[in-house]
């Protein structure tokens, strides 16, 4: 009996150890930083998949909200970020670049839209087309802010992001501040939930929002026209924005304002990671990586409606249905990725 037990135990031990060694020793290790919004998740999943299957790297992903992730990235703990909303964190990002903590790897999504949106039913009913149309007390009443009686509420950007202050200035310049509060939703998830919740209840929505996002495909939002983007005007406005960020809202001075410029989303790598010779091929790949907005939106729609919340399946779906990624990587890597699909 004792003998049998020993035999059994040793077989079990051998089985476990052999299982442990079958996972191949990875040639490289990459630590990706990911954020709490879905377009970043898609890019991280695609990049992670290619690195894992094509380059045979061991990929680790850490996910969090903007500031902790960026702080860890500047601190060299996270190697690569695939979607940086550069303009929203421009100050600390440029500081980190100047200090040699990170290097920028070019543009990922060439254009992203930001702006003020109203839900389509309300926009059609009241003929709301531009921000000027919003400046009526009876329209403001539709979007009533329960915490500020007599005013409407525009759910704005998250305070701490530059877009919050930009929206604040725009409100003043357009004269919206008389009718609406510039309401900080606190986090990206809360902003999404506020829009989705209003749609579910069939209530009017007036909100700042952006694309590419998964939610945009599910709800019907109409962008309000603003004065067209003008570089000179924008620079002037940004000077005021920076002043407000430093000294508080009282620092506001008269300025002009225009629509958001189409913002490019960038990529970056930590200097320590980029300087390692063995990582050169990975850096080249990330540099070449770029997905246009419509493709991101398609992937997001697939993620939300068909994948059942599975990001890896979304990445595979993108890789099997689009050939654009073949040009990012050498032929041998592309072949390996293709085999794994």
């Amino acid at each position: 009996m004792k003998f049998l037990k020993k035999v059994f135990l040793s077989i079990a031990f051998i089985a476990v150890t052999s299982l442990g060694t079958t996972s191949a020793n990875a040639a490289c290790k990459v630590h990706l930083g990911d954020f709490d919004w879905d377009s970043a998740n898609v890019h991280t999943a695609i990049v992670g998949y290619i690195l894992e299957k094509g380059y045979g790297c061991q990929v680790e992903v850490t996910k969090g909200s903007t500031s902790p992730i960026m702080a860890a990235h500047y601190d060299q703990q996270l190697d690569i970020i695939t979607e940086v909303w550069r303009d929203n964190i421009v100050q600390m990002h440029e500081e980190a670049v100047a200090a040699g903590k990170i290097i920028e790897l070019g543009i990922n999504t060439p254009s992203s839209t930001q702006g003020f949106y109203v839900d389509k039913p309300t926009a059609d009913k009241y003929g709301l087309k531009s921000v000027e149309d919003m400046k009526k007390p009876e329209i403001a009443k539709l979007f009533a802010d329960p915490e500020a009686p007599g005013k409407g509420r525009m759910t704005s950007c998250i305070s701490g992001w530059t877009c919050y202050t930009i929206n604040l200035v725009k409100h003043k310049v357009y004269g919206l501040d008389e009718y609406y509060t510039n309401f900080d939703p606190g986090s990206g998830g809360a902003l999404d939930a506020a829009i989705a919740g209003a749609f579910k209840k069939g209530k009017p929505v007036f909100s700042y929002y952006w694309t590419p996002t998964g939610l945009m495909g599910k709800v019907d939002l109409v962008q309000l026209e603003e004065p067209a983007y003008d570089n000179e005007c924008w620079t002037k406005m940004m000077a005021v924005v920076e002043k407000i960020k430093a000294d508080g809202p009282d620092a506001y001075t008269d300025t002009c304002a225009s629509a958001y410029v189409n913002m490019a989303l960038t990529k970056s790598a930590s200097t320590t990671f980029a300087n390692k010779k063995s990582n050169k091929k990975i850096i080249d790949f990330i540099r070449a990586y770029s997905v246009p907005t419509p493709d991101v939106n398609r992937s997001l729609a697939f993620y939300m409606d068909e994948s059942g919340g599975d990001m890896e399946a979304t990445a595979k779906h993108f890789l099997s249905n689009s050939g654009m990624w073949m040009s990012w990587v050498p032929a041998d890597v592309a072949a390996k990725v293709k085999d794994s699909l």
Partner: protein
């Protein structure tokens, strides 16, 4: 029959489990062509098979959508009531000149602590430092205080009766304890985000979150406090012919009061902790200063606001704690007189 009752229960559990597996299998997109494949191809034993996936998520989503669609008005009503209460209270307190508000808080501390000078001076310092740290903090602390106080009132109105019911009836206790465990362990974002969908952004989902997070210790300590009352004292009351109501109000509650006060104190502290988390769902207050500091990687700003929250917590803690001590002293002296 009684002997087999246990087995009947076990087989019911087993049946429910099998039903779940069958539902998971039949509703899965990834199931193999036929069940027979499972017995010829054993690859599914390697990794957790994709078809063995309980479709809980779609059900929950559907249920939640239905809740919003059909009971939206009901939540709207709660929302309007709580929001009205909050706005009135906030506007009143913000409208008061700050020295007046400060003096009232100090007076409250003075009388609640039974004219204890040490506590009063401590509270006075903390109140002054709230505004002293940064003038912006004063109004924000008032907002936070209003949310905490309303959340606490809600906890008291619901928590104490539930605690009493639990202490009186073992069956109720067995039913409620797992719910309390759930409320204390479920991550706060699981109910914060649905809170937005139900109530919209702002103060009300925060009050709702405070209730979920802070009521369990109050219920537990009320229950414990009443059960810890000396059985001999209760028996004595019964011997004198006290009715159930008299027993509760005259004996059990007064003797359990120190424990209940401890529960209220814990409830306040947890409410304050939740207010900071709630700033992530757009709740105005001192918490959004912390969040703003973190979002801008401004450690000084976040820490400064963090200190303000600690001061606020000390104020709440000192007032409720010393009031509890005062009550305890009073009941103790009563006992000696008896």
């Amino acid at each position: 029959m009684g002997k087999y009752k246990k087995y009947i229960f076990y087989s019911l559990y087993l049946a429910a489990f099998i039903a779940m597996v069958v539902i998971a299998y039949t509703s899965s997109k990834y199931k193999p062509d036929s069940v027979a494949v499972l017995f010829t191809d054993f690859s599914w034993l390697g990794n957790w098979p994709k078809w063995l996936d309980l479709p809980l998520m779609p059900y929950l989503n559907e249920g939640f959508d239905k809740l919003i669609r059909e009971y939206g008005m009901f939540f709207e009503g709660i929302n309007n009531f709580l929001l009205g209460l909050y706005t009135d209270m906030k506007n009143f307190m913000v409208g008061l000149p700050w020295p007046l508000l400060m003096i009232s808080v100090i007076a409250l501390a003075y009388f609640a602590s039974g004219r204890n000078m040490g506590t009063t001076i401590m509270v006075a310092f903390c109140v002054f430092f709230l505004g002293f740290l940064s003038p912006r903090y004063w109004d924000k602390c008032i907002m936070t205080t209003c949310i905490v106080v309303i959340g606490m009132l809600l906890c008291l109105i619901i928590g104490i009766p539930v605690g009493i019911m639990m202490a009186r009836n073992k069956k109720v206790r067995n039913a409620i304890l797992p719910i309390l465990d759930l409320m204390q362990t479920i991550p706060s974002f699981c109910y914060l985000i649905p809170g937005i969908l139900l109530f919209g952004l702002g103060a009300v989902p925060a009050i709702f979150a405070i209730f979920v997070y802070a009521v369990p210790p109050l219920i537990r300590l009320t229950d414990l406090g009443i059960r810890l009352v000396d059985t001999e004292v209760v028996e004595a009351a019964e011997a004198f012919g006290a009715s159930k109501k008299q027993k509760l109000w005259g004996v059990q509650l007064p003797l359990a009061l120190p424990n209940i006060m401890q529960g209220i104190n814990q409830c306040t502290m947890m409410a304050l902790a939740m207010v900071v988390i709630a700033s992530m769902i757009g709740t105005r207050g001192i918490g959004d200063e912390v969040l703003l500091g973190l979002q801008q990687l401004n450690v000084g700003m976040a820490t400064e606001a963090g200190i303000a929250i600690v001061l606020l917590a000390i104020i709440f803690d000192r007032i409720t704690q010393s009031y509890g001590e005062k009550i305890q002293e009073r009941t103790n002296t009563k006992k000696i007189k008896l």
